[in-house]
Symmetry: C2
Subunit: 697 residues, 2 copies
């Protein structure tokens, strides 16, 4: 799928504060480790998952920026997908040394390349803080509760991090997690590895063989793997006694298998009103914008090899997102889904009506959400374009806004700040500002000009902010002037402005800083309106629905995905597509038959050179019916004995509907088979050291 979560795209989409919600009963479910239904799994699958199993897997599984990974050696070796860590290859690439295209192998630890922005988090502990949050919110109206909730969570996170500094665990990162839409609040505590290095990556052509056309398809032939290593603060490979071992022959058809990872987000209990808004307004709008940007990027990439290189990563990202959004739209146009949602909603309301006391306390949160959706439709355009930044699509602008807002926010008490500038979040912000990520002026100008032009289209040429910015400039000339004039591509300057605080920002005449300053008032104003008039009533209503649901189902169902650690059970199997059966395994032979010699169906030379040595019967990719979603990319597929029998990297096209429900008939997850991982490392890449460390015989 490139099953990464799509943070930039959620932003681009400007979704309402969507409800996280438990899936319909009968779903395989993305269970938390602290409420995993071992008893149920024993009954249904005859497999015994005990505490030791759970503890070892929990300690072996890693959260990356938008993916999952796992330790596969005691020396911090990390296995994840190629598409989860391309940015680290990009950072070390130049026109001459194209690591995404050509791959990379460190034969010694000294050759391992440090990734500028990648961190690796391992869940070290959890704490239920529901009572504390409830106490802080008691008796408040929607808007006040919305503010108080944010403040309380900031306070709890802060206290948790402060406490960990003096504890035996060592300093932890504490993040609040809302489960069951406010049915439960938790603190999740992570051990963070700040120093992550690149060990191995195959060529992108084989990692993503089939490219966008084959994305979200199965059968597939992708070696979507990459290997990193976590290092300690002492600059030495991390000691990771908890790790997973690969089973070279992979799983059997029908075998019971588990996926442990960090699914990003599901929206399985949106109300029908919210689903219809998504279908009719937000997804079509988003797809229009993204489609044009895709066109611009593709055409720009054709202007030369360097343009082609620098456009590759953003283009992959947007193509993946388009496929996801199209799939979501298709899912919402599937009559089965809406019928199920309507029935489910009606049943819950009927259940509520049978409990007069609860009904009186609950009111009609469904109607409240429908009303808020109406407001949202009006606020959506300025909120998306101005506050969420769709009108300023530029890395330099993002730096500028972070610097401008960061200066203003850090001057306030911690709990009064915008949440993304709370103390607990600042190290990551500072790290992002200081990382030497390449900025390509041509690409910046393209995306900024595009977004300014579309902002003018959607808000209208006479919208005040549009008049202010474009009364004497075209989008092209303004974008070019800003990008050429800005010095924010320099990480040292960004660091200096960050550390210099408000006075440094006030003194700056960088044109991008000036732009961020100029739009900040209106951006904050629309954010406030959005939070008060949309987010607050929707969250309050969602919490009410959640309580009804929680009262009925309790924790007998898993909460919706929240990019936190989950465990999910399934079996290795294909599915029936129309009248034909899709088998659960692919093999090397068909890879060579499918190749056209042209991207994206081109096999790299390294493979062609050893073709005769490769066993055509080697298993390549496989499908299972595990319930996974964006964020699960890079997750280990684990057998009952705790061995890795696959590396999740995608789902079939039907799996996209998993955002809204689990469709047992068609939804399938897709993994790389360990067999091809070992075969490729051995015969194509001759990665002897790596094979040894991964325990190959």
């Amino acid at each position: 799928m490139r099953r990464v979560i799509l943070p930039a795209l959620l932003v681009l989409l400007g979704l309402p504060a969507l409800l996280a919600a438990p899936p319909a009963r009968g779903d395989p479910g993305m269970w938390t480790f602290h409420d995993f239904p071992s008893e149920l799994v024993r009954k249904q699958h005859g497999v015994d998952i005990d505490k030791a199993w759970l503890d070892r897997v929990r300690a072996s599984v890693i959260r990356l920026a938008n993916c999952t990974a796992s330790f596969v050696s005691p020396d911090g070796l990390i296995l994840t997908n190629h598409h989860c860590s391309e940015s680290c290859l990009d950072e070390h690439s130049t026109a001459e040394q194209q690591l995404v295209k050509n791959g990379f192998l460190a034969r010694t630890r000294e050759q391992e390349l440090r990734c500028g922005t990648q961190v690796a988090d391992v869940l070290a502990g959890v704490e239920n803080v529901t009572d504390k949050v409830d106490a802080a919110l008691r008796g408040l109206d929607d808007q006040a509760a919305n503010d108080a909730r944010k403040k309380t969570l900031t306070q709890l996170e802060q206290a948790c991090e402060d406490a960990s500094r003096h504890a035996a665990t060592g300093a932890l990162k504490c993040e609040s997690v809302t489960l069951y839409q406010g049915g439960q609040y938790w603190l999740y505590k992570y051990h963070r590895y700040d120093d992550v290095r690149r060990v191995f990556a195959p060529e992108r052509a084989i990692a993503a063989f089939g490219g966008d056309p084959d994305n979200f398809q199965f059968p597939r032939w992708c070696l979507d793997m990459s290997v990193l290593r976590a290092y300690g603060p002492d600059g030495k490979p991390a000691h990771t006694p908890d790790f997973l071992t690969l089973k070279p022959e992979g799983p059997a058809a029908g075998e019971v298998v588990f996926v442990a990872g960090h699914p990003g987000r599901t929206d399985r209990l949106l109300t029908v009103a919210q689903l219809l808004e998504l279908r009719d307004v937000y997804l079509p709008r988003w797809l229009q914008r993204a489609s044009e940007l895709r066109g611009r990027l593709i055409q720009f990439g054709k202007t030369g090899p360097e343009a082609s290189r620098i456009v590759e990563d953003p283009l992959n990202s947007i193509e993946n997102s388009i496929k996801v959004r199209r799939g979501q739209l298709d899912a919402l146009l599937d009559d089965r889904l809406l019928a199920a949602k309507r029935a489910e909603e009606a049943a819950l309301r009927a259940r509520l009506a049978r409990d007069p006391q609860l009904a009186a306390a609950t009111g009609d949160p469904w109607a409240a959400i429908a009303t808020a959706e109406g407001v949202h439709r009006e606020l959506d355009l300025p909120h998306t374009w101005i506050e969420l930044g769709a009108g300023f699509n530029s890395a330099l602008f993002n730096y500028a806004r972070t610097l401008v807002r960061g200066a203003a926010e850090r001057a306030k008490p911690n709990t009064e700040r915008l949440r993304e500038y709370r103390d607990a979040a600042l190290p990551r912000v500072a790290r992002r500002l200081g990382a030497p990520v390449p900025v390509y002026p041509q690409l910046e100008t393209l995306t900024l000009s595009f977004s300014l032009e579309r902002m003018r289209e959607w808000l209208g040429p006479d919208a005040p902010l549009v008049r202010q910015l474009l009364s004497r400039d075209s989008p092209d000339t303004l974008a070019a002037r800003l990008v050429i004039g800005s010095k924010l591509a320099d990480p040292a300057l960004r660091k200096q402005l960050w550390e210099g605080g408000q006075s440094a920002i006030d003194a700056s005449h960088d044109p991008m800083i000036e732009l961020a300053r100029a739009v900040d008032g209106e951006a904050r104003a629309v954010r406030k309106r959005y939070e008060d008039q949309v987010e607050a009533p929707v969250d309050a209503a969602a919490e009410k629905i959640a309580r009804v649901r929680f009262k009925v189902f309790g924790t007998s169902e898993p909460p919706d995905a929240t990019f936190t650690l989950r465990l999910n059970v399934g079996t290795v199997q294909g599915w029936k597509e129309g009248s034909s059966l899709v088998e659960p395994f692919t093999h090397t032979a068909r890879l060579f038959e499918r190749a056209t010699g042209e991207d994206p169906f081109r096999i790299p030379d390294s493979w062609l050179a050893v073709r005769s040595q490769l066993d055509p019967a080697t298993r390549f990719d496989l499908s299972t019916n595990n319930d996974i979603i964006g964020g699960n990319s890079g997750s280990p597929l684990i057998d009952a004995r705790g061995r890795v029998v696959g590396l999740m990297f995608d789902g079939n096209i039907h799996s996209i509907s998993g955002d809204y429900w689990y469709d047992a008939e068609f939804n399938r997850a897709v993994a790389v088979d360990p067999a091809i991982i070992f075969e490729a490392l051995r015969k194509v890449y001759q990665a002897k050291e790596l094979l040894t460390e991964m325990g190959a015989r």
Copy 2:
């Protein structure tokens, strides 16, 4: 609006066989000249429109390829919009001589430039043939009736043209017209001017001042005019005793005014099921495709001045279409509209239920349409991409398909052919093939590669036709090979292949001909499925609904637009937008204030040079509440005395909803005021001869 009709886009969209239908009662209505409600207009507006008025206007109004125009001198002088005749400027443009950008003025008749493809049709007569068609269809099932209807209309057209050759009128072009969805069939007979020449065009920057951002907006400041001249077969200016005279001071606010022209198509009696399909499936899909193409064209245009020039026309066209489609989607998301449609449909069904005999004969055509829509959703993708050619977006491919199909079809009896190759249509086909329209290889490669790539995306890489075309090629390499290899840009070669018939086609190894041959079987097959399973049942059901409606309302309501001559009454007025009033006139002063100096808000040098001589109080553009739609571009706005008081060129943003209903509160049409036409011709262009011919004092 660039209120042209959008033939290419209808094709791209692959709309179902949509019903033409009378608007809701109370609409101003697009009346035929043969059923114009003069009595009603006298009562409501106190204006007397007699037969002489109607005859003179009918004979003065012209149908262009996708617009309207009118004679404004006895020597064949034609007034229309700039955006209606840009292709004629393009044909005479080169990198050095950019007529679209720089404008054109012929100071003598010898300097007038012949347009390669433009023809001008004037309606000479009409004939009601409903009884003949009904007789031919009696007792047939849906599918047989669908075939028989086409054959019968072809026969009637042929007989009409044959008869005219020996009549006093001289040879006429006969076209069948379906009014009231089959409630009436007519033959419309046109006198055609084959030789049309360019007399005058202003610079595009002033014709389309405000560009895409201001398109479909009002207030506006566009001199969207151009002047052509019809010539007779003798090569001399046509003698046109029926013509309209401009009233230099324009209309007064509130004055009763008429629009005579050729509105292309309205869909005001689609069933609710059809409207929902448009909203949920077809429009979002179309917008995605068009948005990406827009992005590619924009980015290509930035690669240099020549690229910018050749991309301008297709880019304008697609931006206009995107605005229309977005407006249509917004209209369908307007709860008022769907509520009105649901109520209207329920009322008609209730009315039907009160007449048991009619009810029994009618059945449930609404359900039949809903069923056919389900089939259509499945067939839509192959039909759009393969048969409608969305997957082969290329002028060269269009030539190739026309040649390949034309050869096969012409070998059949006239009534057995695909309708677009019937004898009556052939002269136009031959003319298009023979016209020296420039073909830009870079642009061809861009659009063809884009469309092949998207066809692979939407049909899937494993669809048989996709595998056949792209098993060894990428879309880029295939497109480049086809465009470089094809010689079809040469009109002489096309003429030769056309005239050579099947044997010439069989002998051709032109790669584009080979492609057209290779896909023709599958394209015809999907067309047949579409016609039998979608078009036939929808047309049959629509005819049934129409008969119910016709029985209730008769001709007391105008039929839906069919790109045939209509007359419409309204008044000069603005509207209330939110809390602010929009005045019906703009003036020259504000043009200069709105200019930014950058496209598309750039005033041409010719205007800046004489700015001090221009009267800032001159009226520029104006708005009325006439009910117009795409195809009305270039229509004369006429006062009660038959004088031209405006040149229609657009509507406000709300006017786009006119496809589905007439929204009296917000829908406004937009025209150029004669005052600025005369002012500009006099002071900016010093077009003395033209002013004299147009009767300026």
